[in-house]
């Protein structure tokens, strides 16, 4: 309490010269400051002419207002922020072009970086009743925080040399919210035959409760409309042991007989994979994958002597770099 009193007294001594009311807020006064005020600066800043303060004071400043009683009323009448200067202080002392280069580098350095990542979420061997297969699903991105080039690929083939399906998407991705990216571009299916290309629109991101989701619409060069929904969830059992339930659902707006796709819900894939993160980047896993073709798509499969429903035991590696 004693201190506060002393401070107030000290303020009263110091304040009158500082708190002179100005006719115009923008008017500047050179006010001599008692030596005590600038003592901490050791008599002023280096390079400054002396212990002077330029101040634009507010109209209603009074000596009774010390720092602790600064009120909102006061602030409402306080000065506004100046407009930003158009110059750079260091340009006066250093080569302008060097400064410009340094500024550009600073800008790149503090937030302007580009990065890239390739993630193979599924890269596995599948053991099925009807043979041995491989399956992959992954994506890569390159770019900044908001704008990215995204490449996605997924497919499956048999170790007997047949490729069931293989597709690649090339998309421009734009962050549209804290958790979601809107993506547009093309998809090309190398398999099945005949191959198809699609215009693609997708939304990929993170749902509440940490579900990674992806919804896509594909319009083929033959006018066929397809849709897909992908989701997975990483549940940490321990710091390195992670179980990942995964679902992929394919839809079609019409029958596409040449590719054995029936309209409506065409197939569903459910997976459960248990991985061990040797490194964050490298995690061997094992699990099961259940796939079921539905409706007309199932009929197409049966017509070709294939199962409409398959269960695979899988062994793979989840990797990113």
């Amino acid at each position: 309490m004693k201190v506060v009193t002393a401070t107030r007294l000290w303020l009263l001594l110091a304040a009158p010269s500082v708190a002179q009311s100005a006719e115009d807020q923008s008017l500047r006064h050179d006010v001599s400051v008692p030596h005590a005020l600038s003592a901490d600066r050791g008599g002023g800043r280096p390079g400054l002419p002396g212990p002077h303060m330029t101040t634009s004071t507010a109209k209603e400043t009074s000596t009774s207002q010390a720092a602790d009683t600064f009120s909102s009323k006061h602030a409402a009448h306080g000065s506004t922020a100046p407009s930003p200067p158009g110059d750079h202080a260091a340009d006066r002392l250093f080569d302008r072009r060097s400064m410009e280069d340094a500024r550009n580098e600073l800008r790149r350095d503090q937030g302007g970086g580009t990065f890239s990542m390739i993630l193979l979420n599924v890269a596995e061997y599948q053991a099925r009743k009807d043979g041995s297969f491989y399956r992959w699903d992954g994506e890569g991105w390159w770019g900044g925080d908001l704008n990215r080039l995204v490449i996605k690929s997924e497919g499956r083939g048999g170790f007997d040399g047949t490729t069931e399906n293989a597709e690649v998407q090339a998309l421009y991705s734009r962050a549209v919210s804290p958790y979601f990216d809107l993506q547009t571009g093309i998809r090309h299916d190398f398999e099945p035959n005949p191959s198809r290309s699609y215009a693609t629109l997708a939304l990929e991101g993170l749902m509440p409760y940490w579900f990674e989701v992806e919804g896509s619409a594909f319009l083929s060069n033959k006018g066929d409309l397809l849709g897909r929904f992908d989701a997975y969830y990483d549940q940490l059992l321990t710091q390195r042991l992670v179980i990942q339930p995964r679902v992929e659902i394919n839809l079609a707006a019409q029958d596409v007989p040449e590719n054995d796709i029936g309209s409506g819900l065409s197939d569903v894939e459910l997976g459960l994979r248990l991985r061990y993160e040797v490194l964050r980047e490298l995690a061997p896993y094992l699990g099961v994958s259940y796939e079921r073709k539905i409706g007309d798509t199932a009929d197409y499969a049966r017509d070709e002597g294939e199962e409409a429903e398959t269960l695979s035991f899988v062994l793979g590696v989840r990797a990113w770099f």
Binding site: V4, W10, L37, M53, A90, Q110, Y209, L237, Q239, R280
Partner: protein
């Protein structure tokens, strides 16, 4: 010269002992330090020569790739005297540009050492001479402001002795430079964070933990999961890659500081880490905090203090027993510790306490605590002032319905008059660009300067809080602030984007302008659930903490998760100045701005 050093280090690798490494270090940083005295050779003015080079560096018996100054981590102690002049010639032997920023030292802007703001930087092979008068005293430090060099060892301490009598009485002193060292390159660390922000966190909540009853119960986990927030995200980079250092020594190296029983030992702590907040204690010793950020404060006796990145604290201890004490600096997320020993003789050690449990973020850390400011600990006098500046949270001229009245009603248990409790309502921060880089906006940020730092809330012993700090000298500028400037600390932990007011520096079009010598109240609002040590170059500001007239003057202030900090600034240094979060990778992600102060000298005439 560099080759010679490499030769010596090859020897060090062969022996793999800390002792050989010690031979490299300045005497005060050797494994056993007798304390600083005038006879100990340190670099001092008026002419100081510093050489920056890439050097292999041994930590806990393993060699890392480092950037050193004069061949050591930390860099040499620079000891100066207030009132004198100093010329520091910095030679760059790297293949890339470098720089040195004198952290907390008041210098003309052209010698502040931030490439692209104060000067162009120091090119490879060049020598740049910094030349300025020393107008202050205290404990400070220096480090690179180029790229991510600071992470690699480019930092060192500065002591400036006062021109007159030092108000702190002590018989012996030691500098304690805390830091975090990684064998992974800093660019790789940034790369991992961008790809997988939780990459370094091996203390997440798991199903095994839930079944064992650890961490949050299921309902809480679901609540946080719904928000897409990980309450264990306390540190972005952790002990999974860091070795925490005391004066360049790993915990196994056991750096030891000597004392004689009953001596008053002054310990000058500098947190030179890139990303690590430390909780510091010396079990068995009370610490009297006498200085914060180089500015003297009234002595406060504590058992523990939290030191944010870039802060300094000076404490005085008086060990009465003829035995060793362990100096423990735990990383705030408890993923590791820096450790040293205080002992009367060489070769002694004391038990090292185990790491305590890691903190789990709360709704208060999300700026969503309905109880408002009720959690003030002690210090009843702070209440009035806190209310005072929560009223100030409204920048003049804006009216969004989030009025002072609304806040007060809320505090009195009334309805949230027009105040959204949504975790991301742009109405709660009209000045923020709420794009993809803004994950949340604290609906009810609290002044948390009276609370212990994250993880220290339930500590039974006395922990330093900002509200304990009372400037020894009266504040130099008694004028009330003329205006208020609110700045939001924003980010998206999922994308590892960080910014001020929702705009990372690479997208910023305009600096933050001040008029020369205007007095401004700045309110930093933390719209994230991580701490941010915010540093303003070229100035001290008065942290509004309940001690008007004697607010502690700081160069760096840690803004608690979901909290806010108010400081008053006299913008008395003309020029352009960096203003940023001192977490290196937050800055690198965009949490950086330039502050301009005009007119410059020439115009003022």
């Amino acid at each position: 010269m560099v080759m010679n050093r490499r030769g010596v280090l090859r020897g060090a690798r062969a022996l793999a002992t800390g002792l050989t490494a010690s031979a490299m270090l300045p005497s005060w940083a050797r494994s056993t330090a007798h304390g600083l005295s005038p006879s100990v050779p340190t670099l001092s003015g008026p002419d100081v020569a510093l050489t920056i080079a890439r050097t292999p560096w041994p930590v806990d018996g393993r060699i890392g790739d480092a950037i050193t100054i004069n061949g050591t981590i930390p860099a040499p102690l620079i000891r100066l005297r207030q009132g004198e002049k100093v010329r520091l010639a910095v030679t760059n032997l790297l293949k890339e540009d470098t720089s040195i920023h004198w952290h907390g030292v008041l210098v003309p802007f052209q010698f502040d050492g931030v490439p692209g703001v104060s000067f162009p930087g120091i090119r490879p092979g060049e020598t740049f001479v910094y030349d300025f008068p020393i107008i202050q005293s205290g404990t400070y430090w220096y480090h690179s402001h180029s790229g991510l060099q600071e992470q690699m060892g480019h930092y060192g301490p500065i002591i400036i002795d006062p021109a007159s009598v030092d108000p702190v009485a002590y018989d012996r002193e030691h500098v304690i430079v805390l830091s975090d060292f990684s064998f992974m390159s800093p660019h790789m660390i940034m790369d991992k964070l961008k790809k997988q922000p939780g990459y370094f966190n091996y203390q997440k909540q798991t199903l095994a933990g839930l079944l064992a009853g650890e961490g949050q119960p299921l309902a809480e986990r679901l609540r946080w999961g719904k928000m897409r927030m990980d309450p264990t995200d306390v540190s972005d980079v952790t002990g999974s890659t860091y070795t925490f250092l005391v004066n360049g020594h790993g915990p196994k190296d056991n750096w030891t500081a000597l004392f004689q029983p009953w001596e008053r030992v002054r310990l000058r702590f500098v947190n030179a880490a890139a990303m690590t907040t430390f909780d510091v204690r010396i079990p068995g010793l009370k610490m009297s905090v006498v200085q914060a950020d180089g500015q003297n404060v009234r002595p406060v006796e504590v058992d523990e203090f939290q030191i944010a990145v870039a802060e300094t604290f000076d404490v005085v201890v008086r060990p009465a027993e003829n035995r060793a004490f362990t100096l423990v600096a735990e990383a705030v997320d408890r993923s590791g510790m820096a450790r040293a020993t205080l002992a009367p003789r060489e070769g002694m050690s004391a038990p090292v306490p185990p790491l305590r449990g890691r903190p789990i973020a709360t709704m208060r850390d999300m700026g969503m605590d309905m109880r408002g400011g009720a959690q003030m600990k002690g210090d009843a006098g702070n209440g009035g002032e806190t209310t005072g500046h929560s009223a100030m949270a409204e920048p003049p001229g804006s009216s969004t319905g989030r009025s002072q009245g609304g806040m007060n009603k809320d505090r009195n248990g009334g309805p949230h008059a027009g105040m959204s409790m949504s975790m991301r309502d742009p109405e709660n921060a009209p000045g923020v660009k709420t794009g993809p880089g803004v994950q949340m906006i604290s609906p009810m940020p609290q002044d948390r300067t009276s609370e212990p730092g994250q993880g220290l809330n339930n500590t039974e012993h006395k922990v330093l809080v900002y509200a304990d700090l009372i400037s020894l000298d009266p504040n130099p500028d008694p004028r009330p602030p003329q205006r208020t400037k609110e700045i939001h600390l924003t980010g998206n932990m999922e994308r590892f984007m960080w910014s001020f007011d929702g705009e990372k520096f690479s997208d910023v079009k305009e600096p933050i302008p001040f008029r020369k010598d205007e007095r401004v109240r700045v309110i930093l609002v933390n719209d994230s659930m991580m701490s941010h040590p915010i540093h303003l170059h070229g100035h001290f500001f008065e942290v509004v903490n309940g001690h008007p007239g004697r607010h502690p003057r700081k160069h760096t202030v840690n803004v608690a998760p979901g909290g806010k900090v108010t400081f008053d600034l006299t913008a008395d240094a003309p020029g352009d100045w960096a203003f940023h979060c001192h977490l290196l990778y937050h800055m690198h992600a965009g949490m950086f701005q330039v502050v301009t102060i005009r007119p410059l000298d020439e115009e003022a005439a």
